[in-house]
Amino acid sequence: MVNSRNIIWLASYPKSGNTWFRAILAYLYKKESFDINQLDISPIYSSRSFIETETGIDTTELTPAEADELRISVFNNTYGNFPVFFKIHDAFTFLPGGQPLIPAEQTFAAVYFIRNPLDIAVSFAFHSAKTVEKTIENMNNSKFTLASSPKKYNNQLRQILLSWSEHVKSWTEQELFPVKVLRYEDMLSEPDKIFYETISGFLKLPFTLQQVREAVNACSFSNLRKLEKEKGFKEKAPGCETFFRKGIAGDYKNHMSQEMITEVIQNHEQIMKQYSYL
């Protein structure tokens, strides 16, 4: 058994502020060479490449279930030194054999990014070049997955997201390691305070308020947008125009009918109330 708790998870449903936080971390750790196309300090857990390097096995020739088993086996040995960051969009679930999807015993903590599901529906629709209606349907679907087509190559492993509400619960209600929930809307209104409390207070990373402020300024939404415009952003999905689109709260009002809004609220009322979205 491995006892060192080195791993920090940056967990979220897509389009909830995860990449913004990752950009700030990248700036804090690699200020001199900061580049939005090099956020490799926090690779995604579903990336095939780190598993293949560790195991020497072509994961495209494995079933999704086998690939999940293979990935968790990588953590039978201690993985890296504190802090190891992983971005993750998978819901926190358990494999058929009963073990958690992620190495809980090597986990220091998780930061869970939550955002108003009404805004996610719009942002995620733009991101994946789907309609808002289809996106709402996916967010309601307990079986929703990413990268699960058995017909084509995907550079990521299959990710089980569950419904949006189930995704939130899966991470925030598990008791295997501490989780701090960050509301995207709070990150927007009080970035210095929220990021400093999380980075220094919760994650115990060695950065001062001054340093966090500087990173927040460098990674303001308008700066990230500008950098994307100048150099592109490799984490953008092919079908979408820009990754850093608006980044505001409440944009759903410009894109959703009353019926759509009602549908989202009906499906996610409990969690929306719990996190003050209703």
């Binding site: 020497g56 096995i57 072509d58 079933t63 040995n77 017909k151 084509k152 953008k236 092919p238």
Partner: protein, 300 residues
């Protein structure tokens, strides 16, 4: 026990296992023996050890859970210890990939992550990471532009008498269902690599070379968010790094001796072969456009 003889990557294999994906070998000299047997738990004095493989300069053990364990020894033997006797397809699949890669490294053959096709003017190799389209462009050139196959996914370059040739690999290309659909190919007569995965072996028994083919050019494929295909000739250290970064299963390289050998081989190859970097748009252009752009460049 009956033994079968096969030829691939310039080697003659004598195998206890039936390997229907490979062509027969008529030579009487055996380079590699493939047998079924017990694989020990560990390599003696390993220089590298992860949860799934361990290796020294001459020994390598890989575990693919619920399928098989593989041992590659002295560059001339592969022992297969199947976990599931009925999973024959799977047992062969991971042998052709990772175990073969370890074999090539033990023999100092510097496998490249590349697919290679040829016509009367020579061979062209397409290198790049998984999913970038190496097999798709090769398939397209064979299917529609009168090229023939040298090797898919793993390319072995042979440097002899001042010439660089590519050794024939296996007589098929592995393709995902979406690529075959776009090329309007019926998959019903094809065999998928595993039941659950819609990646198929497309056989090229008649469009495959039995002999090494002289290499004419090396293309390194990558993609970016952009509108047009960009092809640029590469020189100097960039050329060197591209080749080194596309060594197949470089995590199986045992140490400095092999690295030095690959360094020298890379230098020798690059002195003779033109290298191009090909950047594809992430979306919007199909394989046909890439094929036409590359064909036009090769005809110049």
């Amino acid at each position: 026990m009956k033994r079968y003889r096969y030829r691939a990557f310039g080697l003659c294999f004598e195998s206890e296992i039936l390997l229907p994906e490979l062509n027969e070998c008529s030579s009487e000299i055996t380079d590699v023996v493939i047998s079924i047997g017990k694989v020990p738990n560990s390599v003696e004095k390993p220089v590298k050890q992860t949860v799934r493989f361990q290796l020294s300069e001459s020994d390598f053990i890989l575990t693919v859970s619920n399928i098989a364990r593989y041992r590659v020894l002295n560059g001339n033997s592969i022992t297969v210890d199947p976990a599931n006797i009925s999973a024959e397809d799977e047992v062969r699949l991971f042998m052709y990939g990772s175990a073969f890669a370890a074999l090539f490294h033990q023999r100092g053959m510097m496998p490249l992550h590349a697919s290679t096709v040829f016509n009367e003017s020579g061979a062209v190799a397409f290198a790049g990471s998984s999913g970038i389209g190496k097999s798709s462009i090769s398939f397209s050139l064979i299917d529609t532009a009168k090229y023939k196959l040298v090797s898919d996914d793993i390319t072995i370059l042979d440097f002899k008498d001042g010439e660089v040739s590519v050794l024939p690999g296996m007589p098929h290309v592995k393709l995902w269902a979406d690529v075959l659909e776009m090329a309007q190919k019926d998959t019903s007569g094809l065999k998928n690599i595993r039941k659950e995965i819609q990646k198929y072996r497309y056989p090229f028994d008649d469009s495959f070379t039995e002999a090494p083919v002289k290499l004419k050019a090396l293309f390194f494929l990558s993609s970016q968010h952009q509108q047009e295909i960009k092809i640029t000739p590469v020189t100097g250290t960039e050329k060197f790094n591209l080749l080194q970064n596309n060594i197949f299963r470089s995590q199986f390289i045992s140490g400095r001796n092999l690295l030095e050998k690959y360094f020298n081989l890379t230098t020798a190859i690059l002195q003779r072969i033109p290298v191009y970097r090909v950047v594809r748009p992430r979306q919007g252009t199909g394989v046909e456009q890439l094929r036409d752009t590359i064909s036009a460049l090769l005809q110049k």
